[in-house]
């Protein structure tokens, strides 16, 4: 069974004439990183909100088609409790994902496990592990509201890691991070997939994803238009015609008139231009 299954899913926000998702079909498997990309408004964020059940439960609107998250329809009110703690959703603005009541980063990371009623010893162990993994242990006693954007984003991801989720839904999870922070989160995705979790990422940032994800899905107009192994997809021309972007080096090669397949990394670019 796929960790996440969309079969002909459509979604329309309330008051909107156009569907944000339209006949959208995709799968995300446990033990793999699946990367969704596309131009702004292509539907990747809505896909994650739908997978988490927040669309339509919180947003309102109409969903059609079959959607199963860990085997359950997340739109059903009864699924909320069943999926609680098993699905980790990380949104692009870290500041709005803080609990609003924690006085320290450690309390922030412990917020969700405490809500699930875990024993205190288990919470402490998971909090220590998650803070270490995201390198925020030195911030444990800091007020989360005073952190920088990058520190806050790492704290929010640590707060989700503490839950030991089966399914990760990450929407632009590195939007506030520097290069080192991005590498840290990419490594975390690989470790979580190796642990057996399914990791689904929605991001316009395609640099480095070919070494992280097993599958790349390019969205256009609310549905997957292109999918395949990231290296294959990103080196080609179709990713551009689908309205998305490949890596910066591939973009440079394209602008310089090189035909596909194009280089994706600095090393590959150097190898191409040194010839």
């Amino acid at each position: 069974m796929s960790a996440l299954l969309f079969d002909g899913v459509g979604f329309t926000y309330p008051g909107s004439a156009a569907a944000a998702l339209h006949d959208c079909s995709l799968r995300a498997e446990a033990g793999q990183v699946t990367w969704l990309t596309g131009a702004l408004g292509a539907g990747t964020s809505t896909a994650l909100l739908s997978a988490a059940g927040l669309a339509p439960r919180h947003t309102g609107g109409d969903r059609t088609g079959l959607l199963l998250t860990l085997g359950l329809d997340p739109a059903l009110p009864s699924s909320g409790a069943a999926l609680g703690g098993r699905v980790a959703l990380v949104l692009p603005s870290p500041a709005t994902q803080l609990s609003g009541i924690a006085e320290t980063v450690a309390q922030e990371v412990a917020f969700a496990p405490a809500n699930l009623g875990w024993p205190r010893a288990r919470i402490q162990a998971r909090v220590a592990f998650a803070m270490e993994a995201l390198q925020v242990t030195h911030l444990a006693r800091r007020d989360p509201g005073t952190l920088s954007g990058g520190e806050m984003q790492r704290t929010v991801i640590a707060a989700m890691l503490a839950l030991e989720p089966e399914l990760w839904l990450l929407d632009e999870p590195t939007s506030a991070l520097d290069t080192a922070g991005r590498a840290l989160v990419h490594a975390l995705m690989r470790r979580e997939a190796a642990r057996g979790a399914a990791v689904v990422v929605a991001s316009e940032d395609t640099d480095g994803l070919h070494s992280v994800a097993e599958t790349l899905i390019v969205f256009t107009n609310g549905r997957p238009a292109l999918r395949g192994p990231p290296r294959e997809v990103l080196r080609g021309e179709q990713v551009w015609s689908a309205g998305a972007a490949s890596t910066a080096i591939a973009g440079l090669a394209r602008a310089a008139g090189h035909a596909a397949p194009r280089p994706l990394t600095v090393d590959e670019g150097v190898a191409l231009w040194a010839r």
């Binding site: 609680g84 709005t96 609003g100 309390q107 412990a110 809500n115 699930l116 919470i123 509201g145």
Partner: protein
């Protein structure tokens, strides 16, 4: 770190300052005469000083001073009945008594409230509620509302700065100020509404609505002294109400 965390007030069980503040408010409203109201104010100031949050008493004076002056003018100078001479002024005896009563009531309530604010720890309060097995939702609502105020103020400051840097005039004529209300208020409200939406998403995915009993991370100790203070204050409040109604 919470402002009052190093003080005796900050070390009390979180319910104790809350109950004491509520009781001070009840007794203040029930206080029938200037002497009782003044005694309550004095006891409140003494308590906040002894528990290490004495600055609250001073901070309360800022909004209180103009109010006291207003009460003095309204009841003392303009009041009717017997007159007494105070520092060369002819004042109404009954009006003066009423002004003192009102001033002390307000003083006690403001001082207790500011002391509560100075010593309040959201996390300890949530832990105390969870420790009792009570609903997380209402404690979250209370605490998040208190925590939202500084965030709202910071957001308002950022919007003011942004609009000023884009040429909006916030000072000068009343017309300028009226014109500035829209560009400042609308982004503030819209931003707050958008934040509520996203925070709702985040809270749901972080299991804030779970029916499971929340684990208190560091439950605060509820000492005999705390319990005694709460019972004593509650009894005093009930007695004050009975005295006021039937006395």
């Amino acid at each position: 770190m919470t402002p009052g965390s190093g003080t005796a007030a900050g070390r009390l069980h979180p319910f104790t300052p809350l109950v004491l503040t509520l009781c001070v408010a009840v007794i203040a409203v029930a206080a029938p005469d200037p002497l009782t109201a003044a005694a309550l104010y004095a006891v409140t100031v003494l308590l906040v000083v002894v528990t290490g949050v004495g600055r609250a008493a001073l901070r309360a004076l800022v909004p209180l001073a103009p109010l006291w002056l207003f009460l003095f003018l309204l009841h003392g100078v303009l009041g009717e009945g017997d007159r007494v001479a105070v520092m060369g002024l002819s004042l109404s005896r009954a009006g003066l008594a009423l002004a003192v009563t009102q001033a002390c009531r307000l003083g006690a309530i403001a001082t207790a409230s500011l002391a509560l604010h100075a010593s309040f720890s959201p996390a300890r309060f949530v832990d105390a509620v969870a420790d009792r097995g009570w609903s997380f939702s209402w404690s979250y609502l209370l605490v998040a509302t208190l925590q939202a105020l500084p965030r709202f103020r910071a957001r308002a400051g950022a919007i003011l700065d942004a609009q000023r840097s884009r040429g909006l005039r916030l000072r000068g004529s009343p017309l300028n100020r009226i014109r500035a209300i829209g560009p400042v208020t609308f982004p503030l409200l819209l931003g707050a509404l958008a934040e509520v939406d996203e925070r709702g998403f985040a809270l749901e995915t972080r299991c804030a609505g779970e029916v499971t009993r929340r684990t208190p991370l560091d439950p605060p100790a509820d000492r005999a002294g705390d319990r005694a203070a709460r019972w004593l204050a509650s009894a005093a409040a009930v007695a004050a109400v009975i005295w006021r109604v039937f006395g």
